[in-house]
């Protein structure tokens, strides 16, 4: 039963988040019957399944909520803001109950009671009576297993099913079989209603049955067998009072009736039957064989009557290959614990490393057979990798939806009017990335709500629409995903940031900074422009934490803001975390990997150009001057550069940077390994990977390098300017 409980928890979580979304939508479209239906169904399933898997408290609590929504569904009461508020609270309470070990205990708490009271308070008194009386959900504690033992009795059951019985998928024979399990019994078919063969509709049931049953079960148990057919046909169950005195036989009404209606049992048989009920099966056997002889005789005599046999039409029977197993047992989706996926990804990572080794060996062996195997393995590995990555992809909408609730709750708290618009919620991202995005996004949205969007009065005074808008959008851009959080609030005031930054010593009074650079200061640790610390934000731990966690995901944060118009924060994130496509390069004895996503192109410099590039730290790329980084010098590698020096041009933040290397080896599937705590602060390197022969290659952190270089470059150019 435990796996069922776990499945229920998973499902309930899903239903509850759907419920939350639907409730928020309901606030905007309170009269949408489809939406109300969806909400009702969610509650219904939570309740129904909850009670099945032992969540009685959840079921009972949800039942109250469902009853109220049934009234809404029937148009008896209308949706109000208060109702949504309480419903959302109730939804949170259900979540709490589902996650707790003892949901019944939580049901008894004052919090639960208050929610139920509050929600019923919203229902007018006259309707309330009606709503609570209609369903009696928690009454059926009937235990089917308690077959009370009664004295042995003989029952006479008359069963005349509805002629349309077959259309309900009922097989009367099975009912008779079931009766037989209760005790000794004899069954007589009443075939008198069967019309002549030409008038027979084979889809109808003309036969009735008389059943004699000797059992210790109660009438209710017998009745239960006929539960599904009782409403449509005749099911008459009578107990035959056990009278040992055969003389009274004719006075027993049912017996008389029986004799009349069946004319099968002789008086003698009946007398014996009443005398010794236990012997009646044998009795009936004799009678039945007599009857069968009659029926057989009838069949043979009836047959010639059919003069014109209808032409025998050959119905082409649809010969569909019976392939149920293949078609159906595979369900459309399955649930897998996420750590299994993590384990799978690790294994794929190992496999990629081994495959690289195989490639290495293959290249030295020069054996066509090994080469072909290596190629095959390479192809399969990369397919496996792609597939594994795909499995881990989730639509970002899964977290977007949470923010609707966040924005709603915060608007109430801050007394502002804000609506959240989401776009591109089907954009897929690695599960781990999505999980780690949650907190940074909450921070950013809280900031937007608190500092960005102005109060209703201010907005009115500024001539802005009363309701502020936060737009959350996601889109693909090459191998990364862009997430934008844009608000139409006050924007960042560069002057305010500047004076605050000077006051707190982040920059010097004399520093010359563009507005963009000033705005970026808000990502500095400990920086906050707000004097008053609110509950929502302003402790100065916000934006730098955001920046760090996004960079931890190998992502990039950027901000742009216009005073009075609003702020846009852009997060650029890699699609996946664990394995990337890299460009493998060599400098001296050392190997380096540059993520292909950042590589723009490769060019070559002759010796004279390369010397000039090294001296000036920049190269001329078809007329564009871009910074040049001599990796040999940077990593202190001895030896001389080759006469023709390859340069890898990479891009980040819209700025280009050239890397001078010795040799570009080529494409490499790179399994990212972190360098460990000791090396975590090293600038310019984001991790390492293991090559086929076991050599370690460092992975260059292109965004970081671009930033360092462009800072140097701008300070250099400033210095030059000051001359």
């Amino acid at each position: 039963m435990d796996i069922n409980k776990a499945a229920y928890r998973d499902e309930a979580h899903e239903l509850l988040s759907q419920l939350e979304i639907s409730l928020l939508e309901l606030e905007e479209r309170p009269d949408d019957p489809e939406l109300i239906g969806r909400i009702f169904r969610s509650m219904h399933t939570i309740k129904g399944s909850g009670s099945m898997f032992g969540f009685e408290g959840v079921a009972e609590f949800t039942h109250e909520l469902e009853t109220v929504f049934e009234l809404i569904r029937n148009g008896k009461i209308h949706v109000s803001k208060e109702l949504i508020n309480v419903s959302l609270l109730a939804r949170d309470q259900i979540l709490l109950m589902i996650d707790s070990d003892n949901d019944l205990e939580l049901l008894g708490t004052s919090a639960s009671k208050k929610i139920i009271e509050d929600i019923w308070d919203l229902v007018p008194r006259d309707i309330r009576e009606e709503g609570s009386g209609e369903t009696e959900f928690f009454e059926h504690e009937t235990d089917l297993q308690s077959k009370d033992v009664f004295d042995e009795h003989v029952y006479w059951i008359r069963f005349r099913p509805n002629p349309d019985l077959f259309y309900f998928g009922t097989n009367p024979i099975l009912l008779l079989d079931e009766i037989k399990t209760l005790g000794e019994c004899a069954v007589i078919a009443d075939t008198r209603n069967i019309p002549p063969i030409r008038a027979i509709n084979p889809e109808k049931c003309y036969t009735g049955w008389e059943i004699f049953l000797k059992t210790t079960c109660s009438v209710n148990i017998i009745r239960e067998i006929f539960l599904f057919v009782e409403g449509d046909g005749i099911v008459d169950i009578r107990r035959i009072p056990h009278e040992p005195d055969s003389k009274n036989l004719s006075e027993i009404e049912p017996m008389k009736e029986l004799i009349e209606s069946l004319k099968i049992l002789s008086d003698e048989s009946l007398a014996r039957f009443i005398e010794a009920p236990s012997s009646f099966p044998e009795l009936f056997k004799a009678e039945e064989s007599k009857k069968r002889a009659v029926i057989d005789a009838m069949d043979t005599t009836e047959a010639p009557v059919v003069e014109e046999p209808e032409p025998y039409e050959q119905h082409p029977v649809e010969t569909r290959p019976f392939s149920l197993k293949d078609d159906f047992t595979a369900t459309s989706s399955i649930r897998v614990a996420s750590d299994k996926l993590d384990a799978l990804l690790n294994l794929v990572g190992e496999l990629v490393t081994v495959q690289a080794r195989l490639n290495q060996v293959q290249s030295t062996k020069n054996d066509p057979e090994i080469t072909s195997i290596a190629e095959e393995v390479e192809r399969l590995t990369s397919e496996l990798r792609e597939n594994t990555m795909n499995i881990r992809m989730l639509p970002i909408g899964t977290i977007f939806n949470k923010f609707k609730r966040l924005v709603r709750d915060l608007s109430r708290e801050l007394n502002k009017e804000v609506s959240l618009i989401t776009e591109g919620s089907d954009t897929e991202l690695d599960k781990t990335v999505i999980e780690k995005l949650n907190d940074p996004l909450i921070h950013i949205i809280r900031n937007s709500m608190d500092h960005g969007i102005e109060s209703v009065n201010t907005r009115k005074a500024l001539g802005k629409p009363q309701k502020g808008v936060i737009k959350l959008s996601a889109s693909h851009s090459g191998t990364s995903v862009l997430i934008r959080i844009a608000d139409d609030g006050a924007g960042v005031d560069p002057e305010a940031v500047r004076s605050k930054a000077v006051k707190n010593g982040f920059i010097n009074e004399t520093d010359v900074l563009t507005d963009k650079e000033i705005v970026r200061i808000i990502f500095a640790p400990g920086f906050s422009t707000v004097n008053k610390i609110s509950d929502v934000s302003g402790r100065g731990v916000g934006m730098d934490v955001v920046k760090r966690s996004i960079e931890g995901l190998r992502g990039v944060v950027d901000i742009s803001s216009e005073k009075g118009k609003g702020t846009t924060i852009t997060l650029q994130l890699p699609l996946t975390l664990a394995i990337i496509e890299g460009l493998l390069v060599r400098i001296g004895e050392g190997f380096f990997v540059i993520p292909v996503s950042a590589v723009e192109e490769c060019v070559e410099l002759n010796e004279a150009d390369a010397d000039r590039a090294r001296r000036r730290c920049m190269i001329d790329l078809r007329g564009d001057i871009i910074p040049f980084l001599d990796l040999r010098a940077m990593f202190n590698i001895s030896g001389r550069a080759p006469s023709i020096e390859p340069v890898v041009i990479a891009e980040a933040y819209g700025d280009k940077l050239g890397f001078g290397v010795d040799h570009v080896i080529g494409h490499h599937q790179t399994v990212l390994k972190s360098l460990g705590a000791v090396y975590k602060d090293i600038k310019g390197v984001s991790g390492a990977t293991i090559l086929g022969d076991g050599t370690v290659a460092l992975i260059l952190d292109v965004p970081q390098l671009v930033k360092t270089v462009s800072n140097e470059y701008s300070s250099l150019s400033q210095a030059e300017r000051s001359y």
Partner: protein, 121 residues
């Protein structure tokens, strides 16, 4: 005896419980999430029995029962409805659509098997 039984329910946990129980009894189980899904998964193949929830999105159980009964292939198969509704009205509606019988939620695996045995033998 192996029978093929389709379970239609929008609740994954109920589907799991029904499948698990019936598979344990040696049946082959086809799962569907609502009426539309059920019909598309059947597409004229043979099933011995259908167990369906009533409250479902897209196509509810009543509608599904009607559609199945209209198809000569499924005219006579047992169809059991799962229902939390204690109101007789819903049950009647299901009955008149052609349901064989019903199981009231919450039910235990034992009860489910008893009903399956009752209508399938």
């Amino acid at each position: 005896m192996n029978k093929t039984i389709m379970t239609v329910d929008d609740s994954a946990s109920v589907r799991q419980m029904v499948s698990f129980t019936l598979q344990g009894a040696g049946h082959v189980v086809i799962e569907a999430v609502d009426g539309v899904d059920a019909l598309s998964k059947l597409q004229g193949s043979k099933v011995n029995m259908v167990i369906t929830d009533l409250n479902m999105p897209n196509m509810d159980g009543i509608e599904l029962i009607r559609k199945l009964r209209a198809d000569p292939l499924y005219k006579f198969i047992p169809i059991i409805m799962l229902s939390t509704e204690s109101q007789a009205a819903k049950k009647e509606e299901g009955k008149s659509a052609g349901a064989t019988g019903w199981i009231v939620k919450p039910f235990k695996p034992k009860q489910l098997l008893a009903v399956v045995k009752k209508v399938l033998g």
